[in-house]
Symmetry: D2
Subunit: 284 residues, 4 copies
């Protein structure tokens, strides 16, 4: 499959912007294979995802942004340019629970995730075997309860070495401090095991059981400094009944977490997620 | 359809309780047409809904509880006895919004709700015409902003006159004070337009929009003194996207509210809901 | 709300088409408020829905198509032009069952359906009262079993008089002969009470019960000469269990039919449905 | 967790049956931990799943059926007795596609499936590595296109050796001939990648694409001689749009197949599925 370029655009809503972008691409010999736009009428902001074939384009990858600059400046655009022929580097962070990790490993191995899985980083040794079997380097960085900061620094050092484009917290049960989060803005995806903003914090299935809800949920979001407050990418729910205790809610929740995280990661890797303020536009 | 009796039973979990109840019914010539039980293993509580034919029973309706008393006392049971051949009296409370009200009126008229709809009470005159058309008495009790308590007292007086078994708040936008709630414990059903406990209080669709959630919800619950904190009967959700503004969330939410409230009301009228603590057991 | 124009475009996929359309609109002072495109890569067909403000446009409604003709011819486009400030005329066809009819009447009355409900045509007298109450003319055209064709001709004559843009079969239980269907191509919407193509024909809930399925469905589609074979607009399902008999499947199905039909009708009235071959593109 | 016995009972519906079963268990010192019954009013058949603690029972496992015989004969019952402290032997059959296989392996490994996974049998060598890693014997039985019967016989011989209680076809793409099916009645579970009875046979995602459906589905069912016609255990669906081609429907379908098959296998292993005629009762 020949590569495409994806532009994620944000600007004040003004007449002519769609035409300007389309003309730029047409003028350089590109063919638009997908385009989707959205206008936030309340805020007066225009968003667009436009994907065009690189085959036939009269510009090399690295010159596209420069060539586009006049259009971007005319409309006051924020431009994010990605290329589908440059595979992203993905690092997974995990703890003891295997479900999200195994699922992402399987999807990667079967080619469903178009990315390079460069490493798994975990604070437990449990998944070293499966990662070795699948050919993914495994970094075991245990936590010393007396000095948690040491492991956090080790995580940062490891991530700096690995240079990931995207980091996925696959039920990683340690706090990621802001000095780590700040280095990878909008590039760390977490799965929270509740329908946010219900049941923030610890033990959401226990909280759901205590409240007697009839649905449980899971939420994938970008990690920001405020825990459980980052931009939401994807959510889903499953039915709960009086028959469910905390254990069965937890079991049902695992399937939710797995699917919701995988859906969010795929949307992110396909360059379909645009963050603005504390929200996301997820193009289809 | 000949009538049945429904017993909703709660007691400490102990061996022999299922046999004792089944023997009582068999000994009096009853045939069990449905039975469903649940044990809350954490709390050690046993719950049962048992429905048996009145045809063939050697006891009149009013003697069943007395005859059952020895079994109830042996196991320390709380017993709630209902009869499907005695139609419940239902009162709907409404304000300006029509969707839940019209839906319940339609279901009642087509025979889907096995109950007598004895009146609609509303603080606006808007629905008098449709109620007249459908032959349901309409009580218009307007709110004087300078003296809200007067209308609340009028509502209570009206309800006392109407003697409802069940009261449904079909998007009734006034606070029901505790002196009203206390007279009808576990008999007032409300629809809240969010996935509780997310977005309690006012303007949940606005709150959902501001947070950027990817699902919106609705919750039907029994009304208690603590607003939005009563036992949940039913919940459901629908997808939201970045394309949704507050108006479209509100529109989507109307369909959710309608279905969730109708589902809860039907479960309640079919004697399938058992309240314990702040939770419900909803039998199938 | 000032009006907009909606163009639904279909043409062979070629570079430059998005730019050409955007340029045409920009050149005439229009502002695109929504645009969505889709390419069927298998068939090589391009689809676009583009909606632009009429306010500021330098063309009157009736000159837009002419002005656009050069673009349409250059790309071999099929163009369908609609205006949101020209309300569509809708006729509902019904029989005895009220759920879909009442639901659409309610949505229309609360302003959710941006259309003029010009009449209800029914082969039973049952709904005359509610229609009179709501101010919608009611045409009762009973069927003579010995001469069904007479009623079919009466339906056609009535529809010709009413000149509807859209006809909705709200559980209309009579066959609509091809001489009626042919006069309103892609303008008649039906609700079938199964998840097509499962359970075509009569008694789908009976068929579902006999097969022991765990989900039941409903399907809204455009009516074509081949019964149950027209382009599908919307489908949904609900859970079924061993506890469901034909009656309870039918009851659950009513809610499905109501929502699915309303969703399809709204998409159609918002000019979001584009038919090609035997399929639909439903823009968001 | 101490063991329980599960009785799955079927008999003509008659008064006294619930009491008779409960009395039998109480008389032998058993405590009912779950009981659920269902009456098919159309056929006049009574179904019950009753689970009781073995701890305290005055009968050894192998004497329970004999002791129960008088009750069974009195009511004309078919009795199926299972023990949760006797782990079932499960064999998975697979071909090239990994998603259902990997998922079941992961669930087994994390203790979610209370069974012994005794072997994987496959007509391709692809999954030998992961099975070796997880410690599950792998039987590679390739198909010779010129003599398919030889492989079918090898499968039967292997299954006879393995003596499975349950066989799961985890996207096994070979026909299982009736001489294999007949030896394991109601013990072979298959996943079909459509919402049966829609799209029986080959290439259901292609069929779904061609028909333009708005939902795709998956169906888990017991294998009978008639392909795709066995009793349905579980079904689910996911949304499809005009954007989906056969490849994306196939990808979405993988998640459906995985969850639906796992749900059915869990229900089966928890002795919650009772087959009658061509239908199932799936207890909660």
């Amino acid at each position: 499959m020949p590569g495409t370029a994806v532009m994620l655009l944000t600007c004040p809503d003004r007449p002519g912007v769609v035409a300007a972008v389309a003309n730029f691409i047409a003028a350089h010999g590109g063919n638009i294979v997908h385009a989707e736009q959205h206008t936030d009428a309340v805020e007066g902001i225009f968003f667009q995802r436009v994907e065009f074939a690189l085959d036939g384009l009269d510009l090399p990858h690295e010159d596209i942004l420069d060539a586009f600059r006049p259009v971007a400046e005319q409309f006051g655009m924020r431009v994010d340019l990605r290329f589908t022929d440059r595979r992203q580097r993905v690092v997974l962070l995990a703890s003891k629970q295997p479900h999200c990790l195994y699922d992402l490993l399987t999807r990667w191995r079967t080619g469903e995730l178009a990315a390079d899985l460069v490493a798994v980083v975990a604070n437990h040794p449990d998944h070293a075997g499966i990662c070795q079997h699948m050919g993914v380097p495994y970094h075991h960085l245990p936590v010393d309860p007396a000095d948690k900061a040491a492991q956090q620094q080790a995580v940062l050092d490891t991530l700096r070495d690995l240079q990931p484009d995207t980091i996925v917290l696959a039920r990683y049960m340690q706090i990621l401090p802001s000095f780590v989060v700040d280095e990878f803005p909008r590039r760390i995806i977490n799965i929270h095991h509740s329908f946010l903003p219900a049941f923030v914090g610890a033990n959401p299935y226990r909280q759901a059981y205590d409240r007697g809800v009839k649905l449980i949920g899971a939420t994938a979001h970008y990690v920001t400094e405020d825990l459980d407050e980052g931009p939401i990418i994807e959510q889903s729910v499953d039915r709960a009944t009086h028959r469910d205790d905390v254990a069965s809610l937890t079991r049902k929740g695992r399937d939710l977490e797995t699917i919701v995280l995988a859906t969010a990661v795929r949307a992110h890797l396909e360059h379909r997620v645009l963050v603005y303020g504390n929200k996301t536009v997820v193009f289809s």
